[in-house]
Every structure is written in structure tokens, then in C-alpha cells.
Symmetry: C2
Subunit: 354 residues, 2 copies
């Protein structure tokens, strides 16, 4: 028996490997955050996983709202919620003392706590003790599973699509979610496979690929999208960029382990330099296509580009439409903004499947 088989069997759920599985549905905690920008996780969950969200709660009545009904943890528990998700961030990445009473209320109400913040929940005095006393779990979605095997490179059954990027933070997660939704609308069996903390909360499980020990990176990606039925699609959230000076190793391990049949390049027109690494130019879409094929064919010789996803949030409708049409003609590949959707995105899905 190989290591990966052993890990899968221990997990007791063959379809999800040993990847993290979160207790859903959630109560979304928005803390005392007043800006939407700091509540991206809450809005992402409401937009992409409404069936997993019972309501929201806040430590400050004036905090930003997702539009979901506001309730106490006890009310949420009575409506079936199984965990409170810390669905906001703050600039320090820490959990302020003012949030703690509501977290303790949630534990008292029988909810687990789920966090994607840098600080570990177990490091917050009082919280660990309360959770232990009530038999509740403190779940840090940044913590990868313990027994990730070294990758084998073995070809797995089923179909896989990976979103890749010219940089970080330009829509790889939303593109994967939109593609998963579009496949489902066509009656195709598809799972979104999450690789970052917000994605993991939306999916209710996954592996935080950037937190895995480097030697096991490709092995984690293999675990994340296990063997599946021949017609099934795993749509895998990409991380980083193969030309990012800090994160390229994460991207390459994810590419090799995902062994995608199809990749979609995510790009933000107008972004000239890498986010936070201003001395580096954003590579062209063509460079990323070429590199992804050159490297990805090592574990899937049939790999090909399914199209290009543009994040056109900085452009108006007519600018976006014109630019995407121009780029589609120039690249010879479908170019679409999945948030705008429309016929261009349908063509992209066709090309992925075709």
C-alpha cells in the first residue's frame, strides 16, 4: 500500500482525500469592521456559499453587514449553525480583545470556531480552555493536514482544471468558482477545490497550499483532487504565479500535483508591476501560457490552455468588452471576465470542455 492510499483510507471519505472538512453551516462573524474591504471573506461566503451561511453576528452593532440576518450565536445554533467563522480581517491580522466575548458566546452555544487569520486560535488565552471545557473545536484553516505524502506523479482518473495567474490577488479563486458554477449549470459534475483560506471556507474544505512543507507541496495537490469518475471535473483554485519571485515554488508544486488537463490564465489588464514586489513587471499572458505548458506537461502531457480570465473591475463595460475582444483575436484564445459573464465566458467554458 502506498502512503497516499493509506492517508486516503484513514480519512474515511474517499472523495475528499484527507483534506480539511469544516463544520457547516456557518454563522459569519463580522466583528467591529466598518469597511467592506476588511470583510471580503464574509462577502465571499455570502456570494459563493449562501447555502452554507445561516446568518451573521457582530461585536459592534454598526459593523458592516453582508445582508444576511443578524443573530446571536445561540439563535444561529438553534437554526442549525455548526460553527462561527471569523469572516473579517484587520490590518494586524490579530484577534482583538473586543471580539472575544462573542467567540466565547459561540462556544457556549455549542459552535466550533473557524479562523483563517495568521494568529492561531489556540494562542488566545481563555478560548482554548473554553473550547476544551465545552468539547468544541478551534479550527485554523491555515493549518494543513498532518499526514501529507510525497507526490507519486501517478495519473489519476477524472478531469482537472487549474486557474493560474500572472500575479497574486487578481481573481484565481473567483475564476475557479465561476467555472465550477458554469459547469454545474450545464449539468456537469464538478467540484471547486480550495487552496487558500477564503476558498477553503467557501468550499467547506481544502488544503492551504502556501502553508504546506515544501517537500510535500505536490503531494498535497495530489491529495486535494483524488481519483474521480471519468466525467467529473475538479476545478482547482490556483496560487501565486510561476514567475513570482517569492511564490513560484508553491505554484509549480500545485501545477505538478494537480496534473490539470486544462488551465485558465488569470490576469488583470493595466496592472504593470507585481503586487508588493514593484521592481518586477507583471509577465504577459503568453509567457504564462508557455511556461505552464512547458512545466505542466511533466505530469500531464495533454495539458492545454482553456482560455484567459480578465479581471476588468477597473474598466467600464464598453472598455472591458472592447479590450477582451481585441485580446481574444490577438491571443487566439477565449478571453472573458467571469464576473461579467456573457457570451465570452460561455465561449471560454466551451473551449475548456472542447
Amino acid at each position: 500500500m502506498t502512503a497516499i492510499q493509506r492517508v486516503r483510507e484513514d480519512s474515511g471519505d474517499a472523495s475528499d482525500g484527507a483534506a480539511l472538512a469544516l463544520p457547516t453551516p456557518y454563522l459569519l462573524f463580522v466583528g467591529d469592521v466598518h469597511e467592506r474591504g476588511y470583510a471580503k471573506t464574509a462577502f465571499g461566503l455570502k456570494d459563493w456559499a449562501p447555502d452554507k451561511c445561516v446568518g451573521e453576528c457582530a461585536s459592534d452593532p454598526l459593523a458592516v453587514t453582508t445582508g444576511l440576518p443578524r443573530m446571536t450565536p445561540a439563535e444561529a445554533a438553534s437554526r442549525g449553525a455548526r460553527s462561527l467563522v471569523i469572516a473579517v480581517a484587520n490590518s494586524g491580522g490579530y484577534i482583538p480583545a473586543s471580539w472575544q466575548p462573542m467567540l466565547l458566546d459561540a462556544i457556549d452555544a455549542g459552535l466550533d470556531i473557524v479562523s483563517g487569520m495568521h494568529v492561531r486560535l489556540a494562542n488566545i488565552p481563555g478560548l482554548t480552555e473554553a473550547a476544551w471545557r465545552k468539547g468544541r473545536r478551534l479550527i485554523d484553516v491555515r493549518t494543513p493536514p498532518a499526514d501529507i505524502p510525497v507526490a507519486t506523479g501517478r495519473k489519476r482518473s477524472g478531469k482537472r482544471l487549474l486557474t493560474v495567474g500572472t500575479d497574486c490577488a487578481l481573481g484565481k479563486k473567483y475564476t475557479a468558482l465561476a467555472i465550477t458554477r458554469a459547469l454545474a449549470q450545464r449539468g456537469i459534475d464538478a467540484d471547486f477545490r480550495a487552496t487558500g483560506q477564503t476558498g477553503i471556507m467557501i468550499a467547506g474544505g481544502g488544503i492551504p497550499m502556501d502553508a504546506v512543507i515544501a517537500d510535500f507541496e505536490a503531494g498535497a495537490a495530489e491529495m486535494l483532487s483524488p481519483d474521480a469518475a471519468p466525467g467529473h471535473w475538479d476545478v482547482i483554485e490556483g496560487q501565486g504565479s510561476l514567475l513570482h519571485p517569492a511564490y513560484a515554488g508553491v505554484s509549480l508544486g500545485l501545477l505538478h500535483g494537480s496534473q490539470p488537463d486544462i488551465f485558465v490564465v488569470c490576469h488583470e489588464p493595466g496592472r504593470r508591476v507585481l503586487l508588493g514586489e514593484e521592481e518586477f513587471a507583471v509577465p504577459s499572458v503568453e509567457e504564462i501560457v508557455e511556461l505552464t505548458v512547458a512545466l505542466g506537461r511533466r505530469t500531464n502531457p495533454a495539458i492545454r490552455c482553456g482560455g484567459v480570465s480578465f479581471n476588468t473591475s477597473e474598466l467600464n463595460e464598453s472598455e472591458a468588452t472592447r479590450l477582451m475582444a481585441e485580446e481574444e483575436a490577438r491571443l487566439g484564445l477565449p478571453v472573458a471576465d467571469p464576473i461579467r459573464g456573457g457570451p465570452a465566458f460561455d465561449r471560454l467554458i466551451d473551449h475548456c470542455l472542447g
Copy 2:
């Protein structure tokens, strides 16, 4: 102040960044191992770091010998030894009970214990308690430093050479050691920078790159070879291969963070399939040259190949000489076996410096 500056300043030793520094000189422990193959670390230390080795000790008088004087831990301590190094492996990667009395003797004699084995020293009952009581350290060289920053991609001063490979375990460490020695013989200031457990013991420090969290892989490589004098060379031990289905992410993070001016491709002629991944062919030297330039120029646009290192241990002298001459003509690059040395290796060093 950037994170990397902060980490460097905390380390108190600018030339070594915050990379691990081991207590030398060593007493080499060969346990009860009877085959040279299981004592590769001991022979590597004796061959490449004789000035760091006071002697050897064994738990079985019939154990393999490195040829260094055999002595008790107390004798070694009186001759200046500062640590006992577990310089052997066994097939299980564990520390048998029969080794433990001598490890405890070493602690009693005032030595630290250094191990590169999979099992953590802290998990061995009795050892932790004894070390704590005597104020000694248990050092696992597979444990990376705690505060590795995210890579910045900033160009650093000094020169860097990285060994890269067509596969694992074919001579990347020995090639880097031999190049470091050859540079020193020419009066060039050079440091061997270790990235794996045996290399770290030989160098007396370094970072186990395969054990670093994926997001910090390139950052660890930046830490490993900090700014240096313009004429100084860091010769960095490579890991894995850019075309290895399990470890390519490690190799790419190390390449980006090392930002080498020169790379030397390590290859074993006659090896047809990857070690332990038999369904994958060993890539050609040309493929690795091309990929290393394509990816490495992201952090060092001046990157070039300095030559090819052949592991010809399976060939006789005349076969090896003929093959290397043929390949040198075919590739248009110096090809040498650093263990055999000779004019071919001199040409390789010339080409690296030229």
C-alpha cells in the same frame, strides 16, 4: 526596515543570516552500522570537513570505521569536541534503543547532540530530560529556522553559483563542495551553502530547504546566501530537479531565492528513470539548462550555465573520459566529474569564472 533585515540583525552574524549554526568540532557516532552505505554522513564529514571532526565513537566495537581515531565522548570532549553527530542512518530512520546509552554519555560529557534523522531527538524518552538537566542542546538539522521572511527578489551583492540536477541523489552536494574547494585553491573567497542535512553538518550550518513552509522557500534561499563582498562566491547546494514531479517546487524556490549568476547541471549518465519514480524518464541536460535559464532569469537576468557535472561512478576511467569528451563537444559546455577532477574540471571552473 524589511523583514529580512530584521531577521539578519537578530541573528548577530551578518555573514550567515539567521541560518542554523552547529556546535563544532564534532564527534562522529557510527552506532552499530556495518555497511558503509548507511554511514554516508560519517564518510562525507571525514572527507569534506576533516577540520570539524575530532574522532568517532560506536555503540558496537565492530561497527564500520571512518579511519578517524575511536574514542569515548568524554575523551572527545577533552579534545575540544562540542557535539556528537549521529552520522549514520538505518533503513527505518529511527534511533534504536541500543544507541541511547552512548547518546546519554555524550550529554553527560557536555556535548550537544546533532541529528539529521527523520525522528526528532526531542521525541526520544530520556534524552530530552537528560539534555535539559545538563543544559545541552538536541539539534535536529531537518528543522529550519523559525523566522524565515517572504522573499523580496532584491538583487544581492556578491556572486552565486547553484548546482541543479536532472534528478535527486546524483551529486549536487559533492559538486558544490568540489567547486568550493577548487575556488579556494585558486585563492577565491568562497563559501559552500548547505541546503540538506548532510551538507549542513559538513558546512556547520545552512537551511534544510525541503523542510521549509512552501510560502517561504525562496525567502529561505535569500537568507542562506546574504549580501557579500563583490568578489565573494556562495556555492549553493541544489535540491531536487525542476522536472521532478514531487520536488520541483523546492528546486524553483531555491533557484529564485539563490538568484545564481552561474548554475552547474549535475547528471548521472546511464540513469534512465527518476529514482523512486520509475514511470518518469530522467530529463536531458539540455532540457534542464533551458528551463533553468527560462525560470532563473526572473531574479537574475544574467544567469548562465557554467558547465555540466557528470557522476561517472558506474563507469571506468577510459569510458568516463571518452563519454565526457563526446558530451562536451555535443553540448558546447565543459563536462567534468568533480570526483575525478583533472583538466576537464579545471575547464569547468574556468567557464564558471569566465
